[in-house]
Symmetry: C2
Subunit: 582 residues, 2 copies
């Protein structure tokens, strides 16, 4: 079926028997810890530990949920690695998506810049991310470029190999981690395309020959996706080409900037039919530039034009590829739609294509984007209407298929929410893995392999959220976030009362600052009553003579004004009393 | 095909010729205005106006989006009806879902309690909603109960008829509004079940005989749904019954409280196989109570038990039906899952069924709910795994089918986001409606029909959001909401400086209150520098002698501290300076 033979694998990793002999000699456990990705287990980072050797897979970020206002992103919690920095033999990057490389600029320095390993594009994207975060920081990187999946790299006692996978970004690669206690097979993010462009379908049978016990860690996002096979790249390209060639006006394509192969394909096709392509969006342009420099895509000068120059060409000769298909407020597509783009105006006969999926959580935003687009343009094309995007992920049938091909001894579903992982275990059982050799881990779970047995420890390592907000890393915690929620829900209300030290009476009328609670101009009566109540509270408590308990008075204001507001409005703004003695 | 004949319709509404004669006699336009439902056009409320007669269809609420923190819900903006209250001949309710009746307690009083028209269950749910909102307010209602779809009601010049539709709540009914300028056919929310329980499939051919011009207003949510036909109720019930009968432990079913027929079906089935049912959730219990009182569902006493009594029965004899399948924080299912329910504890061998769809926007919450459930229970069943829910809406094929059956002269797709409506126009053209007789309206659009012609006016009526937040109706506007966003993103920072009137110098150290910005205990250095800067700013500006411009000083504090914070943290908290002269 495939060129890579079991013979090669035996050469590279030794036969099963050899490994078993090796196992008898060692009393060291192999330890695997999914460390990052809060709900999607292990998605952002995984730690492999054997004796004094540590290898890390990926350092990605997670995007914040709606209940995390102001948070830019979340990085893996690396408390477990504290004090173990010297043991880290290398960080392998499976592919260049942000949820796999995005935390590198923060975590690599913290860990003393361990060696990083990956394919060319992946490492180039890591470097770019480093430089964007802090100028010249990429100079600290020590890199091993994986030029071929046949390469083998020794990292302490770990022996690292690779295999081809298909995913929605070039240079995605599957990882083999061979240890004296077993061989981990980890495709990273993957899909199965039965009809790929320019190559034979990838199969994984050869991995079944790896020395046992074989531990398959499998991205299982698609475990409940029982739809028939996804559209192939080929079909998608055919659709895109038809749309581009038949377009009466200009074509605007919104896609992920990491879809470099797709972008290159469109450029090549446009050139062939005599259309010009303009790219827009920072990451879009820089990713294509990186891929060009690496020689991954070949684009003649005549195909690409600068976005400033689109007016020089007839509309029906133009293809614009841009970012923002998720509805990101300041991205190119949003600016085009809201008429804020300097060079692109939408016309009724344009063709606008969403060559992208909807990332969960963005549904409503994208709905609005589409609404606005449909108002301005008669030809809006998205996955609901035509297959103009293919997923980078597998479905339930693919998961069963890959398990059957690899025939693992142990199965650890990863990279998805817990319930998807639980569903994947059902698929694995159907594919022949025995139930007691399947482990659904959490982030922070520690699973140990020893002598062909696996066990999950009772304790977990720390995996609490590490939020990045502006320049702050980890300084926004639960308290700050809780306050943000309260402020968002009902706003806040500051009351400043100046109290005469002599008389214990409030001087003048208390100052009031209210934001997000009620519209002050329309609430004069409420404010008047509030001022009156505050004066009463202070005068009563402070005017009795003796030592004044200001914290008691503040509590009184908070409670009494709080319940007054609730009665009047059924809202609970954050009440902040300031009492100043003069 | 169907018993209801064209003969009957001619009797009820007059033949096409008669109407044409009538049309010649009148110079009055028929006006249709979709008035409520912000993104889903006309979903919450539609106004029909003919001369001095107004008829309203539905008074529903819209649920807030994520970018509307603290908002409870949104009601239709009825500015257009101001001054026209006396013309309102009646409010027809198509069915009892909250997005069609929820605003009744607020809008009916505002409009002087016009007559309300609907089927029994719908009106009972309106009454319940009124009473929940304000005790005894339902006493003001003047109601017309539609006992049969064959009834005809005159409301001014409007003649109202009805037809059967299928939807996910009992007593959903399609509306016919006959006027001298045309006949509106509006199924409300609808679906096509090719294999319904206890009845023949509903067809709409008889509506094609209504006097023209026929104006079809069609809920078109499913216009991009090209999947093969949805699962039928029958199949779904078969699945539910299998799960309930085979369950080794107790069965917990989360569903919408408005799914009264489904709830009744489950109770009846449970009784047949000797299991007991407990209902939990306020709306669940009250809806079933209402349906029982109306005689819509017949449940013997022995089938239902009180939730407090579940401990008296063996686990495998228990079925619990409850609210909260959308992950609502304080609803029953959430409380069960988080072990906060007084009477229900989840066990590994329980069967938990989500007999519900995911409402857009709730995806992530429901994912988390499922994660937690899968941890506690081995048998979690939802639509990804088995058909345990059927949608209440149609798909693209159904939309084409109903158009072909009704053969409208005009087509107005409604009840969905703009882009769905645009896609529905394509379906209508395929179904034979001529393009120039299709109108995609916005909320507030005014379409007029006169002499067989239709035109959309250039002006629109006011439809700005009317937010309900606690007791406030419409008092939270853009300003308050914008403040809530700023507060949520980066928190706020209050600086209180007491200034000596004599010297113009800051007395002591400025007070600082910060919430949602940085964790104060960990930011002492930042606070110290901030205090220093505030003193400098005030001293410099105020200490120069002459009249002090306090608003200038406040601006200075806001700007300088703002950019100081941004440099240090890349965050932009709301800065609120308070300067007090003493």
């Amino acid at each position: 079926m495939i060129a890579e033979t079991s013979f090669f694998f035996r050469l590279a990793f030794g036969s099963t028997n050899e490994v078993h002999r090796l196992m008898l000699k060692t009393k060291t456990n192999l330890r695997i810890i999914p460390l990052g990705g809060q709900e999607e287990v292990g998605r952002n980072m995984t730690v492999f530990e054997y004796g004094n050797d540590i290898v890390i897979l990926d350092m990605g970020i997670q995007f914040p949920e709606e209940d995390m206002p102001g948070i830019d992103y979340i990085i893996p919690n690396i408390s477990y690695l504290k004090g173990k920095e010297k043991n880290i033999r290398g960080v392998i990057f499976s592919h260049g998506h942000l949820d796999h490389i995005g935390a590198a600029p923060i975590l690599l320095p913290k860990l003393g810049y361990p060696k990083i390993i990956g394919r060319d594009l992946t490492l180039a994207l890591v470097k770019k991310r480093m430089e964007d975060y802090e100028l010249n920081s990429a100079e600290n990187l020590e890199t091993i470029h994986v030029k071929s999946v046949d390469e083998r790299i020794n990292l302490g006692k770990f022996r690292i190999g690779f295999f081809n996978v298909e995913h929605s970004i070039m240079d995605a690669v599957g990882i083999i981690i061979n240890t004296p206690q077993g061989t981990i097979v980890h495709p990273g993010d993957w899909k199965m395309d039965k009809n790929p462009v320019d190559q034979k379908p990838i199969t994984y049978n050869h991995l079944s020959k790896l020395p046992g016990p074989k531990i398959l860690m499998l991205e299982s996002l698609g475990s409940t996706d029982t739809q028939p096979t996804h559209v192939s790249e080929k079909e998608m390209y055919a659709n895109l080409e038809k749309l581009i060639s038949e377009a009466a006006g200009k074509v605007i394509i919104g896609t992920f900037s990491s879809q470099i192969r797709r972008i290159a394909h469109i450029i090549t096709y446009a050139k062939r039919i005599g259309k010009k392509v303009a790219l827009d969006g920072y990451s879009m342009k820089s990713n294509v530039e990186i891929a060009k420099e690496l020689g991954y895509i070949k684009i003649g000068k005549e195909a690409l034009i600068h976005i400033n120059d689109v007016h020089k060409y007839p509309e029906n000769k133009l293809v614009i590829i841009c970012t923002g298909a998720q509805g990101e407020g300041n991205a190119v597509l949003s600016r085009i739609i809201s008429d804020e783009h300097k060079f692109i105006k939408i016309r009724k006969n344009d063709t606008i294509i969403f060559s992208s999926s909807v990332i969960p959580g963005n549904e409503r935003t994208i709905q609005r984007l589409k609404d606005n687009l449909y108002r301005k343009c008669d030809n809006v094309i998205h996955s609901d209407v035509m297959d103009v995007h293919t997923s980078g992920h597998s479905n339930a049938a693919d998961i069963k298929e890959i398990i059957k091909q690899i025939r693992p001894d142990f199965f650890l579903p990863v990279y998805a929410n817990h319930y998807f992982l639980k569903e994947a275990t059902k698929l694995a059982v159907e594919a022949g893995v025995s139930k007691e050799k399947i482990f659904v881990l959490d982030n922070g779970s520690i699973i140990e392999f020893y002598n062909g047995n696996a066990s999950v420890l009772n304790r977990k390592v720390e995996t609490g959220y590490v939020f990045v907000d502006g320049l702050g890393i980890g300084d926004v915690g639960e308290v700050v976030l809780r306050d943000r929620h309260v402020l968002a829900r009902d706003g806040m209300f500051v009351i400043v009362a100046v109290v005469d030290r002599q008389t214990g009476k409030v001087k003048g009328s208390p100052d009031i600052i209210s934001r997000g609670f009620v519209y002050l101009k329309e609430s004069k009566q409420l404010l008047k009553e509030t001022r009156k109540k505050v004066i009463e509270i202070v005068d009563k408590a402070a005017g009795t003579g003796g030592a004044v308990n200001w914290s008691y008075i503040k509590d009184e204001i908070r409670n009494k004004i709080g319940s007054f507001f609730y009665t009047k409005t059924q809202r609970r703004p954050m009440i902040l009393p300031v009492v100043i003695e003069v």
